[in-house]
Every structure is written in structure tokens, then in C-alpha cells.
């Protein structure tokens, strides 16, 4: 990122090759629209290019910053539409539960494939209700209050599920991030 902040387009190209397919997949999932997802990819990496110095100043690791930008673009687009694609019954839980059937794909042979396999495994360890609130919050851009209304659950229950889910995922994935 230091090279990108310094204006090195080759460095940006490396980041693009490593993360563009993750960002595109995320945008496709949230927006359910390939053209809009493409725009999100371009806007996200444009932001990486033009705001690299901001990342240098704030510190932290790169993926949370990058995916945060991408997700914010997606959620903003969702809100512009004034409609959410995941309001159809069944959508909310489909994606995270779409765990591969165990057949090794191309992704599984790569570094990102390994990460994908680990997060899917960790999510699979979560109780369904906890996985559901993660799905609604992260991929549908709902606040805890909106989730409570959507599920007709007490807000405190939703908060507890969010807290427990993140803490459990953290415990399961800490060894990965520590590598």
C-alpha cells in the first residue's frame, strides 16, 4: 500500500489481481446486479488509489479497509435504490449457507481459496440464528434495530446474537489472522 500511496500503478495492479474477485463477489452478493457490481469494483479500487495516503495514516491491515470501502459502496447503492435485493424470503440465509459440497474448486487451490474455506467452516459452526443476523447486518446492510424488526425479535436478543457470533468467529479465525 505504501507503493500505491506513492503513485505506483504496478502496485495497484497487484492489489487488484489479488482482491478484485473478492470485491466483485461481495458486490454481486449484495447488489445482485453485475453492472452495479462492476462499478463498485472500479470505485473501490479508485478509492484505494486516490485515498491510499488515508490508509497509510490510519494504519491497520489492508483487507478490512478495502472490503469496508467496497461494502459501503454497496450499501449506499442499496439505499439509493430504496429497495433491498435480499427482501425475498429465503435470500437472507442462502449465501452463507451455500457451503461448497467439498469438491475442491479452483479457489481452493489458492491463498484466497484457503481463506474462503476457513470462513465458511467457521460460519458453519455458528448457530443458525447467529449466522442469520451476521448475514442481515453485513450483506443486507441492516442495523440491529432493523434486524430485530425484520425478524420480529427483541432488539436485545439481536444484539446478543451479533455479539456472540462475532466473538465466536474471532475465536475460530484468530489463528488465521495471526499467521
Amino acid at each position: 500500500m505504501a507503493r500505491v500511496a506513492g503513485g505506483d500503478t504496478d502496485a495497484l495492479d497487484l492489489l487488484y489481481h489479488r482482491y478484485a474477485r473478492v470485491v466483485y463477489g461481495l458486490a454481486l452478493r449484495i447488489l445482485a446486479n453485475p453492472q452495479h457490481a462492476e462499478d463498485v469494483v472500479q470505485e473501490t479500487f479508485w478509492r484505494v488509489w486516490s485515498r491510499g495516503a488515508t490508509f497509510q495514516i490510519t494504519g491497520g491491515s489492508f483487507p478490512p479497509w478495502l472490503f469496508g470501502i467496497a461494502r459501503n459502496h454497496c450499501i449506499d447503492e442499496l439505499r439509493r435504490r430504496q429497495a433491498r435485493p435480499a427482501t425475498r424470503p429465503g435470500d437472507d440465509s442462502d449465501i452463507l449457507l451455500a457451503i461448497p459440497d467439498g469438491q475442491p474448486g479452483v479457489d481452493d487451490l489458492t491463498w484466497e481459496g484457503e481463506r474462503r474455506r476457513l470462513i465458511i467452516s467457521a460460519l458453519a459452526d455458528l448457530p443458525d440464528d447467529q449466522r442469520e443476523v451476521i448475514e442481515l447486518a453485513y450483506f443486507n446492510g441492516l442495523s440491529q434495530r432493523e434486524i430485530a424488526e425484520r425478524l420480529n425479535n427483541p432488539l436485545g436478543t439481536v444484539k446478543t446474537r451479533v455479539r456472540l457470533a462475532l466473538q465466536k468467529l474471532k475465536g475460530l479465525l484468530e489463528h488465521l489472522n495471526g499467521e
Binding site: G7, T9, D10, L12, D13, A20, R21, V22, V23, Y24, G25, L26, L28, R29, H36, A37, E38, D39, V40, V41, Q42, E43, W46, W49, S50, G60, S61, P64, F67, A70, R71, I75, I95, L96, D107, E112, R115, R116, L118, I119, A122, I134, A137, Y138, F139, S143, Q144, R145, I147, P154, L155, G156, K159, R163, A165, L166, Q167, L169, L173, N177
Partner: protein, 293 residues
């Protein structure tokens, strides 16, 4: 609507990392984060977890023209930028997010332009007011300086006037004394005549037998050269006593109150001489008037 106000910002950190908080809750968490390095460290760990979630969805390669448009945009933003990395060059398609962004940017630029013009106008107005105030202050300082100068002049004039008043008052008192002295019953007069026939000067002495005070009124005395005064003398057979000095202006008039060491009628003669300023111990040779008592 379900509500839950029992949560502390601590318990909301996971939801904050997930982007699932309302604005008010976000503000509360951010306030706590600002005060706690430990919570910031915990937030970084939670964000690493959240950053794993995108890998849970199916990864997909974006069309090649996405990358192409990205690097075109970068190249357009920096004229001197190095050539972008080689990549397939599919048909270019403008971003759909761009028009909205450009519209917002244009609106912002227009608003900023208006704000800048407004601020510029306000600054210019304030600058004009400031210059006017500075000019006014300068004028007031000038007026104050003039007033202070006039005040100084008036103070000097006042001092001079007071001195003149004191002098006139003294003169008035002296004149009143002289008038009362010369008009009192029992007063005796003696004439002083010119020592030289060419002089028109004369004097009249008013005295009371047995008293040491006397008043002498002179007229026709010529003005003296600088450094000279008239000096009055009383004399008997054995001594000559100075009775006072004075000067005259162009009118040639003068009044002298004499305080003799003893009764005036004990002396036998009086005379008026010209002496150096400050007077002399003994009378000089230039006698102007003289008389007998």
C-alpha cells in the same frame, strides 16, 4: 418497536465492527473508542474477522474492462502518470456510479464556489469596514493630538492668566492700600523734585508722623536701559537707608510703598537714584529726584 437501552458501548463493539449500528449508537461507541486503546485494539481484531466475511460468498472475476476503465481513469487523473500495466482491452463502458458522483461533485463545487464568493464578499466587506475604522481611528488620534496640543496651550494661557490675575490682584491691593494710605486723615505730603532741570520727573511722598510706612507716587520718570532700576533712599545725618527699587514703563508712572527701619519723619532727606538691577548698598551718583522731610 423493540428497545434496549441497557447495552454499554462495550457490548456494541461487535455490531460497530459489523456496520450494524444506528448513528446514535455509533457515536457512543466512537466516543468510547477515542478514550480506550484497549477497545481500539479489540476493534481491529473484530474488523479482521469481519474482513473475512467477503470470502464466504462465491468469488468471481470481474470483466476485464473494469480494470481497463480503472486504469484509464487513473491515467486521466495524472497526466504524467506512467503507462498502465498491460491488460486486455475490451469495450469501454462508463461507470454508472460516476454520473451521480459527478453531479454531487458539481453541486459541491457550485456550493463551494457560492460559499467562497459569499465568504470573499464578507471578507472584502470586513476589510472595508476595517480600513474605515483604521482611518477613523487615525482621525480621532489626530484630533486627540490637536486637542492635547490645544489643551497644553490653554493650560499655558491659563497659567499666564492666573499669574496676571495674581499680579493684578497684588497691584489692586497695593493701589487700594495706596489710595487708603494717601486719603487717610492726618497724612502729610512731601514733594520730590528733579535733580536736573531737564527732567520732567517728580514725586509725592505720603507719610504719617511717627510711622515707618510711607507711599511715594512718581511721574515723568524716563524709562531706564536694561540692567538698571530706580532705587529710593532715606537719609539722615549719619546714614542712608535703601527704601526699595522699581522700574517704570513708557508711561513714566510708579508707586512705591516704603517700609523704613524706623519712623519716616526721623529722616531728613529722601532721594531717587539710578542703580544696577538688584539695587545698591549705597546710593550712586546718578540722582534723579530728591526732597526734604
Amino acid at each position: 418497536m423493540h428497545t434496549d437501552t441497557s447495552d454499554t458501548p462495550d457490548s456494541q463493539l461487535e455490531a460497530y465492527a459489523l456496520g450494524a449500528l444506528d448513528a446514535a449508537d455509533r457515536a457512543a461507541v466512537e466516543q468510547q473508542l477515542a478514550e480506550s486503546p484497549e477497545r481500539r485494539a479489540e476493534l481491529r481484531r473484530l474488523r479482521e474477522v469481519v474482513a473475512m466475511l467477503p470470502y464466504a460468498v462465491a468469488l468471481a472475476d470481474p470483466p476485464a474492462d473494469v480494470r481497463e476503465r480503472l486504469f484509464d481513469r487513473i491515467a486521466a487523473s495524472r497526466p504524467a502518470a506512467p503507462a498502465r500495466p498491460a491488460a486486455p482491452a475490451p469495450a469501454r463502458r462508463p461507470s454508472r456510479l460516476m454520473p451521480a458522483a459527478m453531479a454531487i461533485l458539481a453541486a459541491l463545487l457550485i456550493a463551494l464556489g457560492g460559499l467562497t464568493m459569499s465568504l470573499g464578499s464578507q471578507v472584502a466587506g470586513l476589510d472595508r469596514s476595517n480600513r474605515q475604522l483604521v482611518d477613523t481611528l487615525g482621525q480621532m488620534q489626530q484630533i486627540l493630538a490637536q486637542t492635547q496640543g490645544q489643551q497644553g496651550e490653554l493650560a499655558a494661557q491659563l497659567a499666564t492668566s492666573r499669574e496676571e490675575i495674581r499680579s493684578l490682584s497684588a497691584r489692586l491691593r497695593e493701589d487700594q492700600y495706596v489710595i487708603s494710605f494717601v486719603s487717610a486723615p492726618g497724612v502729610a505730603t512731601r514733594d520730590l523734585s528733579a535733580a536736573s532741570a531737564s527732567l520732567l520727573a517728580r514725586g509725592e511722598m505720603y507719610m504719617y508722623p511717627g510711622e515707618a510706612s510711607a507711599v511715594v507716587i512718581f511721574s515723568g520718570l524716563p524709562a531706564l536701559a536694561p540692567g538698571q532700576v530706580y532705587q529710593f533712599w532715606l537719609a539722615d545725618e549719619s546714614s542712608q537707608v535703601a527704601g526699595g527699587t522699581f522700574a517704570v514703563d513708557e508711561t513714566g508712572l510708579a508707586t512705591l510703598v516704603v517700609e523704613a527701619p524706623r519712623e519716616v519723619n526721623a529722616f531728613r532727606q529722601v532721594m531717587l537714584t539710578v542703580e544696577p538691577t538688584g539695587g545698591s548698598v549705597h546710593p550712586g551718583q546718578q540722582v534723579v529726584l530728591q526732597g526734604s522731610l
